[in-house]
Amino acid sequence: MNNILRLQNVGKIYQSGSNSLTVLQDVNFSIEAGSTVSIVGPSGSGKTTLLGLCAGLDRASNGIVELHGTELNQLSEDQLAAVRNEHIGFIFQNFQLMPTLTALENVMVPLELRGEKNIKPRALDLLDKVGLAARSHHYPTQLSGGEQQRVSLARAFSNRPKILFADEPTGNLDAETSEKVVKLLFDLNREAGTTLVVVTHDLDLAAKTQRVIRVKGGRIIQDAPAGADIN
């Protein structure tokens, strides 16, 4: 089996003063390259924390997180940044575009950080795919929420990531816009053959993935193909 992501006995404990809060505990799963997975669960159950650990945004308190054969806990901050830049794409609930850059420039950032040359055609092509070629010179404040999220989709795919993490990508959008963004996400993903991990509480969105991981109180309570019912 060819796993791009592997978690083994992963736990996360937040220490605040003398109190310690266990947010994640005994998390074990692997994700096959090219597959689509959703993580669902009630608010506060630890989904975002889990995603952060998987993407190397934070360090696990115990256990092993292995991304593309590299154990993330062993890496320095700058090495983690390089891994993210090389292999990972992100989509956030609140879009997270650089306010100082145009749509086009935002899409180019991951490639520019790598020092790649002649990247404009690719960025424009991606913007075209999300239907915003005409808005490429607009700043984020000049775009609607749905449009901003589409720009961030284009950005997420710009560095040809091996794995894409999305944290509640439709959380700030209305139903109609959500549908459009989700369709784009899955289309682009299919075309690029990227592994997709989506955190969501939108069950319709979860149903579109091949596999659903349910989290509650910091533990995985179910890990099954989509459509399988709880219990």
Partner: protein, 847 residues
């Protein structure tokens, strides 16, 4: 429905609660005005201390109860009058003469003061050794100014020669009544006893001598009343007089002008800070829009919402002003050091509670005034904003009240200026200039920003482009930062430029074969021999001009007294009091041009008035027209003249220029002396030549332009120090606004840099982006300031000094780099936390 009102205590409580999380930030906003207030309080206190000191030390400023000045020896009648005055009298004759240091032959033009009597009666001639100021009077001894002593390496006991007499140096003169560091730089004095004056041989006819009489009255005498009675006698005898009271007024007036000037400079720093406050409050309010909308939903009225925030600003504005006032009281202790070279007395400093009070009131008022426009925008926040996701979008339509507030602000500036200057016109000009300066700075800043944005090469690396793009982040304070840092830069830069223009100008005129030495007071019989000495030293004489001293008695048949009586025909008394140095020749010089009338070079028609030529500017100032008849008194001989022509004179060239020129054929036989202009190629031959001249003719005075240049440089150094000190306030305010702005936008930067780290940027890349952002900011500000002062200095050079404007590149580049790097340094120091932020934050941020 029940109508209820939220009471003031509740609003206070809400204001207190709301500020809880932001108190340090609020204080930071207000810190921008702390320095401005400090400057004002320091200068106000200085002004008060000056007033007190002048009051208590006025007597030592003139050294006597009454001083009388005359430009000519007293006639018998006047001498009798003067000798009746007071209980004790001293006499001083002062004139410019060469002094020669016997030890090394060094010589320099100095102000020689021959003294008889026990002057000063109040204060003393401060000397080292201390008793020299008293003992030198009875021997062949002199007191020599300390700058001269230093310059020629002289010691007490050495001898100096003045005219034909050698004096032993009895002491180094540190201070004499009314003397400042500046006067001792420009015209260092040498005191000698009057008994030896005749022996020096310097009192020939034609030398310019000032005669002064110092009079002491018995303690308790009402000198003012006595003088009032004698006023007419004094005026008739052409005697200027000065009492302790009038001295007090005069000194007070000049220092009032100085402190007014400083106050206005300080006020500019305060205004800068206020703009910083306004822009910070604006951002603060934008961040609060959501909570304001919630309050509005819960039933808080618009004006109450405004009050909740206004209370915070008032509180913090007051606190900031108090801090500023305290700082000002501390700074004030150091101000005397800054201006000591301009003071004729030792300045003692006291805390001035009045000034501190004024500072606190002004600071509180002005911080409210400038915060009002953003505060009042709160009224427009609709409760509906709660329901919208992008609540921080503000409608940009202008509120009419905002315009009213801007009007109030301008009125405040005008009012402040008026209080300082007490003149509508000047206050108007000041307000207009301030508005114009800010507008020009602001527009230049905008232009530069836009040009940079448009023409920045897209091929440059991402880090550079991102650094630049950061200047345009939402809620940025780029423009105000550029204005405030730019203003400071421009002040310093203008100072550099003007200093340069003037020095280059003097330098230029002494380069090439332009004359660089002026010999004057050459008696008619000495002329041939001086030319011979010049010849033997192989020094060319560029010009030799005869000069005749005369006084003006009547204009169109009316005397000074006639003009005084006739109020409809105003004529300045000045033109009668002064001595005119007049030349005669048959042709114009290269620097002259006739603007009106006809030049007449030779006078033949005996009996008719002599056609003279008057300098255009002087004629205008003195209301003298073509065809006016002027009556001159040429050392006893009355001479009728008529204004035959007006001349434009280019004063820029080193040569002898005159207000009044006579034609040939009139003054040839009048008592006169000559002025010669020569060019010496180097310092060594200059020294040899000067020594030879002074040796042969001690009465001849020499002005060495190299020395003038040095003196000018020194004076600029002293004035420059004062201006730099004040420009420092504006720059420091700029820096504080910068720090505040960095901290205000820190949250936003944090978000950006965390996002960049998530997308894979290394620490080094983020560091580079931050540094570049500040570099762009500093560079744009420096450029704005430099451009502005370039424009100003160019205009000054072209229109005011009529000099070639040459750009000294090195200091400008240096200033540019210094400002840019300073900005980078401050920016980076305040951004430290950003680099170490863990990237996980990106997932946790609320939208």
């Amino acid at each position: 429905m029940k109508q209820y009102d939220l009471n003031f205590p509740w609003l206070l409580k809400m204001a207190w609660r709301d500020s809880r999380k932001n108190r340090s930030r609020l204080l930071l906003f207000i810190s921008s005005i702390i320095l401005g207030i400090a400057a004002l309080v320091a200068i106000y206190s200085l002004g008060e201390n000056l007033r007190d000191n002048i009051d208590s030390q006025a007597a030592t400023l003139i050294g006597a109860d009454l001083a009388l000045y005359s430009g000519k020896p007293l006639d018998d009648k006047t001498a009798k009058l003067v000798n009746q005055l007071g209980t004790e009298r001293s006499e001083e004759r002062s004139f410019a003469s060469m002094v020669v240091f016997a030890k090394n032959g060094g010589n320099r033009l100095a102000q020689v003061k021959a003294l008889k009597g026990n002057y000063p009666y109040y204060g003393e001639l401060e000397t080292t050794p201390g008793e020299a100021g008293k003992t030198f009077r009875n021997k062949r001894e002199a007191l020599v100014d300390q700058t001269l002593m230093l310059q020629y390496g002289a010691q007490v006991g050495d001898s100096i020669r003045i005219g034909e007499v050698s004096f032993a140096i009895a002491g180094i003169l540190q201070k004499a009544p009314g003397q400042t560091g500046i006067t001792s730089t420009v015209a260092p004095s040498v005191y000698i006893p009057m008994d030896y004056l005749d022996q020096t041989g310097l009192m020939q006819k034609g030398s310019r001598v000032a005669y002064r009489y110092y009079i002491k009255y018995a303690p308790g005498t009402d000198v003012e009343a006595l003088v009032e009675k004698r006023k007419d006698d004094f005026e008739k005898a052409d005697l200027d007089y000065r009492t302790v009271e009038s001295q007090k007024e005069d000194t007070g007036r000049s220092f009032r002008d100085l402190t007014r000037f400083l106050t206005l400079v300080g006020f500019v720093a305060l205004l800068l800070g206020c703009i910083g406050v306004a822009s910070a409050v604006y951002i603060y309010i934008r961040e609060k829009l959501k909570s304001i909308a919630v309050l509005r939903c819960l039933g808080v009225k618009a004006y109450q919402a405004v009050l909740i925030f206004m209370i915070q600003i008032v509180g913090i504005g007051f606190l900031g002003s108090v801090i500023g006032a305290v700082l000002g009281a501390v700074i004030q202790q150091f101000l005397p050091i800054v201006i000591k070279d301009f003071l004729p007395f030792e300045l003692t400093t006291d805390i001035s509670w009045l000034s501190i009070g004024q500072g606190v009131v002004i600071g509180t008022l002005i911080s409210i005034l400038f915060s009002l426009p953003p505060l009042l925008s709160i009224r427009k926040v609709s409760p509906l904003n709660v329901l919208r996701s992008n609540a921080d979008e503000v409608k940009s339509e202008k509120d009419p009240i905002t315009w009213l507030l801007y009007g109030l602000i301008v009125l405040f500036v005008f009012g402040f200026a008026w209080l300082q200057m007490q003149s509508w016109m000047q206050a108007l000009i000041f307000t207009g200039s301030i508005l114009a300066a800010f507008a020009v700075l602001y527009l230049t800043a905008l232009l530069l920003i836009n040009l940079t944005r448009r023409f920045f090469p897209t091929s440059w690396s991402y880090l550079w482009r991102q650094g630049l793009a950061n200047l345009f982040r939402p809620n940025n304070q780029t423009a105000i930062l550029i204005v405030s840092i730019g203003l400071g830069t421009s002040l310093i830069c203008t100072l550099l430029f003007t200093q340069d223009i003037l020095l280059t100008r003097v330098n230029l005129s002494t380069s090439g074969n332009q004359p660089n030495i002026v010999l004057f007071d050459i008696q008619p019989g000495q002329k041939e021999q001086v030319l011979k000495i010049a010849q033997s030293h192989k020094i060319p004489v560029n010009q030799s001009v005869p000069i005749v001293n005369m006084r003006l008695e009547e204009v169109n048949g009316k005397t000074a007294a006639d003009f005084q009586k006739d109020t409809t025909d105003k004529q300045s008394a000045r033109i009668f009091g002064r001595e005119y140095r007049v030349t005669f020749r048959d042709s114009l010089t290269k620097a002259e041009k006739i603007t009106e009338g006809k030049w007449q070079g030779i006078y033949t028609e005996n009996g008719t008035p002599v056609p003279i030529s008057v300098e255009q500017g002087f004629a205008t100032r003195s209301r003298i027209k073509l065809g006016d008849t002027l009556t001159f008194n040429v050392q006893g001989t009355i001479m009728q003249t008529i204004v035959g022509s007006l001349r434009d004179v280019n004063w820029g060239e080193v040569q002898t220029n005159f207000l009044v020129v006579f034609p040939n054929g009139v003054l040839e036989e009048a008592p006169q002396f000559h002025v010669m202009l020569t060019h010496v190629p180097d310092a060594a031959s200059s020294a040899r030549f000067q020594q030879a001249i002074v040796q042969a003719f001690p009465n001849i005075s020499i002005i060495d332009l190299a020395l003038v240049l040095r003196v000018l440089d020194e004076i600029f150094g002293k004035i420059g120090f004062v201006i730099r000190f004040m420009a420092g306030f504006s720059i420091l305010t700029g820096i504080i606004v910068l720090i505040a702005s960095v901290l205000i936008s820190k949250y936003q930067r944090l978000q950006e840099s965390v996002l960049l780290r998530t997308l894979g940027a290394s620490r080094k890349q983020i560091f580079a982006i931050t540094a570049l952002e500040y570099f762009f900011l500093g560079a744009l500000a420096a450029l704005t300031g430099i451009l502005l002062s370039l424009g100003g200095s160019w205009a000054l050079a072209t229109y005011s000094f009529e000099a070639e404007f040459s750009l000294a590149l090195l200091p400008v580049v240096g200033l540019f780099l210094a400002v840019s790097l300073l900005t980078v340094l401050i920016g980076l120091l305040n951004s430290r936390g950003i680099l170490s932020q863990p990237p996980l934050e990106v997932l946790r941020q609320e939208s």
